[in-house]
Amino acid sequence: MRRCSCKLLVLPALFLPSVVALAQTPASPPATQAQISALQQQIQTAQMNADNAWMLVSAALVLLMTGPGLALFYGGLVRRKNILGTMMQSFAMMGLVTILWAICGYSFAFGHGNAFIGGFEHLFLRGVGLAPNPDYAPTIPEQTYMVYQLMFAIITPALITGAFAERMKFSAMAVFLSLWSLLVYSPMAHMVWGVGGLLNANGGHIPSLDFAGGTVVHITSGVSALVTALYLGKRLGYPHTAMPPHSMVLSFIGACLLWVGWFGFNAGSALGSGPLATSAFINTHFAAAAAAVGWTIAEWIHNGKPTALGAISGAVAGLVAITPASGFVQPFPALLIGLIAGAFCSFMVFKVKARFGYDDSLDAFGVHGAGGTLGALLTGLFATASINAAFGKGVPTGAIDGHWSQLLNQAAGVAISWGISIVGTLILLFVVDKVIGLRLAPEDEHEGLDLSQHGEEGYDLNG
């Protein structure tokens, strides 16, 4: 549930008393009536165009998060021989997921279907035109909504690539993640945001609050990442060989692009340019900042030095955690969510990963899986109808409103996203492995993705 639809009615409602008064005036000429109607139409068009402008910008910002945000963030963290291969994984999603989304992904996610998946109603985007779809976003063309959602569908599988960095075949990755977007992402998106979805805040069987994709994007990608990392096994030489980032500079740039792009991710999920977008924007920024500080402090205490990698990872962790909460909470709870996420995710990455020894190379699970889970639960705690009356005017949303059972609903959403991610990912990994083979041959892994998969070198320093 993203927007408070009552806000749409505010502007014309302001005019309604005077219009009614005018209409009741005896002998109001038809010309005046016509003028008033025309003006009302213009007002509505102007508001819709305002919403559409912000939504198109938001869609562009979210795409920016993948390319080059995530491409650079991940690219800088891997060894030099794998830079192009890593960036290509994100870029491949930009191409492949777009095509699949247009053909059937959007239909499976947002078409009418059952509680778990949409149907074939919008195959090849049939019926998705420039008129709004009132089920989802009544003030913007449905194509705007569709393309905005597409950018989410693109980045989600791209996030998973962090877990299997430096060791998966390009062909296998392309097939695996393309199928993943249809088998895991679209159903999850349908359950949380689709009409009739099981977890939809608006009338779902288990109404859960996920403003911009804590479960749909971050838990699914993070948990699927963990499953993939465990299935594929560790990189050759891990953990005895140190494999530090070859360019923290690129990662830094990528992280900052992610932060800025996230304003489109969260504030754009208001599906309009009104005050709710402002709330989400502020919460996003506050959480990122607090989490960066939180992680940095935790690391300073733990290691004695604050690292750049820690600071930027902290910011991303905060952004992940605030994602489900961004349009539901007040600003200072958003700060708190960020602070907690920074500390918690740093703990996941420093301690838990080392303790269990899995090679989640770029911490997709530690940041997205763990951060998304935390954020989804904290959303249940801090959501308030004073920011977003998602369940109806005057109806409490989260625990601080008194609605403590929302925490259970959030937990249910978390459990379902974990479940579908684990099962869906395992099935796909197994199938793709048998048909194509997932992992690079050892000599290819030694040579690096760039040369073995793409016949290219990222840097020609002698050129």
Partner: protein
């Protein structure tokens, strides 16, 4: 003719180059290298784990000089590069069989 190879701290490169030029030695080849002798590496952090980087950045200078200039060159290098601490580097001297100027096929000491 002798080849002098000196492995140095990168921060000493400019001083050594200047000292050699002042001593009248102009031809040299500079390479970026990594390595260590008895010098310990430094620790870096990655994801909360400490690890030691023990292949340290170094600079290698190679010169070929006439036999009579060997000590001049060595003293120039040592004077500029020495700090007294572990990690200052090393100098190796070896014999050169032939030297040729590519431009005009000049051979022997006059090619240096």
């Amino acid at each position: 003719m002798l080849k002098i190879e000196a492995v140095l701290q990168p921060s000493k490169l400019d001083a050594v180059k200047d000292a050699l030029l002042e001593a009248g030695i102009e031809g040299m080849t500079i390479l970026e290298a990594r390595g260590h002798g008895r010098q310990k590496g430094h620790t870096e952090f990655y994801r909360g784990r400490e690890y030691t980087v023990d292949l340290l950045p170094k600079v290698k200078i190679e010169l070929v000089v006439t036999d009579d200039r060997k000590e001049t060159a060595i003293q120039a290098i040592m004077g500029a590069a020495r700090t007294g601490r572990i990690g200052d580097g090393k100098i190796f001297v070896s014999k050169i069989d032939e030297a040729i100027r590519i431009r005009n096929d000049e051979r022997g000491e006059s090619a240096l």
